[in-house]
Subunit: 88 residues, 2 copies
Amino acid sequence: MSLLDYFRSSKPGSASLAKERLQILVAHDRISRNQPSYIPKLQQELLAVIQKYVNVGKDAISINYEQNDNQETLELDITLPDKSRQNN
Amino acid sequence: MSLLDYFRSSKPGSASLAKERLQILVAHDRISRNQPSYIPKLQQELLAVIQKYVNVGKDAISINYEQNDNQETLELDITLPDKSRQNN
């Protein structure tokens, strides 16, 4: 399964769930954990970039960060404001 | 399956494939396509941010962009330089 398939399968299918949504996922496969992680700083920069494009409050952004032996993952899930919806 | 499960299942399992790798995925669920997409510009900004943290050439970055009726997806797959590997 490709990553694009994942996104396709996870998108909302019913009209009641139809919202503008932006997801950003970061995965860092690390060979060693001896180096400091830059993911937390990267997260801040990603949020700053996103907020240049979409006007969302912090409560519209869900952040999930996980770390295990060899991988860090960061998931940003942003519900975009309804004002971007067109009348159709 | 959660997105984090996807990343876990797709990470290299054998030592010969063990490389530092950074993946960034962006999915934008759109209700309407009447608005211009900001994903291409977002892509440029994401690359600029990433290159502040990792010193990689353009040939180390694989970019995949897809668009269908209600969703755009952008996938950045970056092979990180071996110099970040520790001696262990």
